[in-house]
């Protein structure tokens, strides 16, 4: 009685026909025209910026500066990766910057004042971030205070908390070799190549496995040429990065050799892979997008909306803890301004520039990395050009406005073209 019968004369399953490379390209152009630009503006901007800075200041392309970009940008990128989760819900976390400061301070105090090992101090910092996230999430989801207000209050409170932790704003330096090494040390060059090969082969494997399992069910598959292009692009870009990072960049190599991928890069890559997996392949990730798209629809679908909202704040503050750890590692110390000044706005900027929507429901973790690269390049390149901090802030602010404008306009455009 409940089984529906297949009406006769109907064999074609919608979406079951595989499309050629050309159709994929046309589709992509259509999506961009329709306002769904994703990371495209950020990638284009990144290339343009690199060319401009490289031409005007050749030192921009030097090996040492290239490596600097990664270590300078890491804190912002890590915080931005967490912010993507909160932005996906259409919420905001203004306290993530100082949350990273609090977590960094906790780690430094445990390492230096309490003589804990890094293997305890670093988890303690991350647990601190998680606790912060639970508090923020409960205030937003259960009490119902707008996230803007909750995190603005937390922004102020955490700033004070860092001051109190550092008893009146004194510096605490760290000299734990492992913790300092996160930002200061590099992978041996051969390991860099090995990791790249693992990544490329793994990526190709995942893609081909997907094709295999879809084909076995008679579903549409991407053409192999498209997969080859994607894998090839990853291999080429990765090889260029590894090659340059593996160059000697010490001024006096005989004294202290300096080459290889900075340790923080694999850390970022692993977190990127983990969170991308969570967002795109798990039920939890699907529900984050659903809550961001329509809270009411998610609720009626039986999704525990509060749980999703709290979890997102936990991930955001937890990632802020990672940001704080690398910030302390890079500076060798923690001070009241760790995680302060422009860090939070740079992180929000990174996520939005990379293509994550401020309106919720749209975004990926890689957006934070791409947008973070744009922010790091602007900051670094303008510094090389001799501009003051003031000018850098203004330019970055304008870029953020531009990105948010693109976001808002592409929504309008999608509405106009009937896509929304």
């Amino acid at each position: 009685m409940t089984a529906l019968q297949t009406p006769p004369g109907r064999t074609e399953v919608p979406g079951s026909t595989s499309r050629s490379l050309g159709e994929h390209a046309r589709d992509y152009v259509g999506r961009i025209r329709g306002g769904d630009m994703g990371s495209l503006p950020a990638l284009a901007g990144l290339i343009v910026l690199c060319i401009v800075f490289g031409v005007m200041r050749p030192v921009f392309f030097s090996d040492i500066n290239f490596a600097n970009l990664f270590t300078q940008g890491s804190q912002v990128v890590l915080i931005a990766m967490g912010l993507v989760f909160v932005l996906l819900l259409g919420e905001i976390d203004l306290s993530a910057g100082f949350a990273s400061g609090v977590c960094g301070a906790i780690m430094a105090i445990l390492l230096t004042n309490e003589n804990w090992g890094w293997y305890l101090a670093i988890p303690a910092a991350i647990v601190t971030g998680v606790i912060i996230g639970v508090v923020l999430g409960v205030l937003v989801a259960k009490v119902g205070i707008p996230s803007f207000v909750v995190t603005l209050a937390a922004f102020l409170a955490f700033q004070g908390l860092v001051l109190l932790l550092l008893t009146g704003g004194k510096n605490i330096s760290i000299n734990d070799p492992f913790t300092v090494g996160i930002e200061k040390d590099n992978l041996p060059p051969w390991l860099g190549w090995v990791l790249l090969i693992v990544c490329v082969v793994g990526y190709a494997g995942v893609q081909l496995n997907r094709v295999r399992s879809r084909r076995s069910r008679g579903l549409a598959v991407d053409p192999l040429s498209l997969i080859a292009i994607k894998v090839g692009a990853l291999a080429v870009a990765g090889a260029i990065a590894v090659y340059f990072l593996n160059q000697e960049r010490a001024i006096n190599p005989a004294f202290h050799s300096l080459k290889g991928i900075p340790n923080v890069v694999p850390l970022i890559v692993v977190l990127l892979l983990v969170w991308t997996f969570v967002l795109s392949r798990t039920t939890f990730g699907r529900h984050i997008y659903a809550v961001g798209g329509s809270k009411e629809a998610a609720r009626r679908a039986g999704i525990n909306v509060d749980r999703i909202r709290i979890s997102s704040f936990v991930i955001c503050s937890g990632m802020a803890a990672f940001g704080g750890i690398v910030a302390v590692s890079r500076a060798n110390s923690v001070d009241p301004n760790t995680g302060g000044s422009n860090i939070l706005l740079y992180a929000v900027g990174a996520a939005v520039i990379g293509g994550t929507s401020l309106f919720g429901g749209k975004g990926r973790v890689i957006d934070a990395v791409i947008g973070g690269a744009v922010v790091a390049v602007i900051d670094n390149g303008m510094g090389l050009m001799g501009y003051s901090a003031g000018t850098k802030y203004i330019v970055t602010g304008v870029v953020l406005l531009l990105a948010a404008g693109v976001d808002a306009l592409s929504r309008r455009r999608a509405a106009a073209s009937g896509l929304r």
Binding site: M1, T2, A3, L4, Q5, T6, P7, R10, V13, P14, G15, S16, G34, S213, R214, R217, G218, L219, R281, T282, T283, R286, H287, Y289, A290, G292, G293, S294, E296, A297, A298, R300, A301, G302, I303, G361, K362, A414, G418, L419, R420
Partner: protein, 279 residues
């Protein structure tokens, strides 16, 4: 079609605080039939449907499913019985595609990984069974669909789960002529495939086009539930606006008092002419 109605509500009362919205409402839906639920604005149609769907608890009355009394406290209870509701405001996530929406909250997984191929296949088979020809790709975002297409997705979502009763709250209210026809065709098809379909609508043309039975609520009371072939267009309009039409519908006393009447009757064709207003 079948002797016992798949869904039967008996003597349902429902109040919101001091406001009694449903009074002694009887309602049945048979498998293989489209039952239209009509009534003026505020008559209590959506409230009745939400009681069936487990969103509101009923104050008193019986909820029979397949002849057996059941208790439904939550939407989950309803869907585990096989009762699915398509709400007027649809509740789809525009930023997700058709497959993702159809499986929202009930995703298929292998281990912790979403089983996309299986979900895509099941979704496309369901759309296929419903002869949905209008969507280009089931990986299209819902944002890019027309109103009629969205309604189709919402309906497909409801029938994906081996549901036995599908309730549609004003599915054609926002649609143009062509898309309305499309949705009505789909509604008819669901019933022909053996489901019990309940259709809420204000449009008499739609009702007469697809309904086998017409149930008419008047001020929170069931004025009558009759076979569509037994009534005329104008009789239904009278039932909606006045609660009675000739010997059909509520007795004058009941209409006037809207008091503590009681309608006990058999399932199927129903005539509440026997209803007694208290004094």
């Amino acid at each position: 079609m079948t002797a016992t109605p798949i869904l039967e509500m008996r003597g349902i009362d429902k109040s919101f605080g001091p406001v009694q919205v449903l009074r002694q409402v009887d309602f049945t839906a048979n498998a293989g039939e489209v039952t239209a639920l009509v009534g003026d604005n505020g008559a209590g149609k959506s409230t009745l449907v939400k009681c069936v769907g487990g969103i509101y608890p009923i104050d008193s009355g019986d909820y029979l499913f397949d002849g057996k009394p059941v208790t439904v406290h939550s939407p989950r209870d309803a869907s585990s019985l096989g009762v699915e509701i398509v709400y007027q405001d649809l509740a789809l996530c525009e930023n997700l595609d058709i497959v993702q929406n159809m499986f929202l909250g009930r995703e298929r997984t292998r281990g912790i990984v979403l089983d996309e191929p299986t979900m895509e296949k099941m979704a496309s088979e369901t759309l296929d069974r419903l002869s949905v020809r209008t969507v280009k790709s089931i990986r299209q975002l819902v944002a890019s669909l027309s109103g009629g297409q969205r309604q189709t997705v919402a309906i497909a979502k409801a029938v994906l789960w081996n549901s036995k009763v599908v309730i549609l709250d004003e599915p054609t209210a926002a649609l143009g002529v062509a898309q309305t026809a499309q949705v009505l065709e789909l509604v008819r098809q669901l019933a022909d495939n053996g489901l019990a379909v309940v259709l809420i609508s204000h449009n008499m043309n739609d009702v007469f086009a697809v309904a086998d039975q017409i149930a008419c609520l008047y001020l929170g009371r069931m004025a009558a539930q009759v076979k569509a072939t037994d009534v005329t267009y104008s009789q239904v309009v009278e039932l909606i606006t006045a609660g009675r039409s000739g010997d059909l519908g509520l007795q004058a006393a009941a209409v006037a008092a809207a008091g503590n009447g009681n309608g006990s009757h058999d399932a199927g064709v129903t005539d509440l002419g026997d209803m007694n207003g208290a004094q």
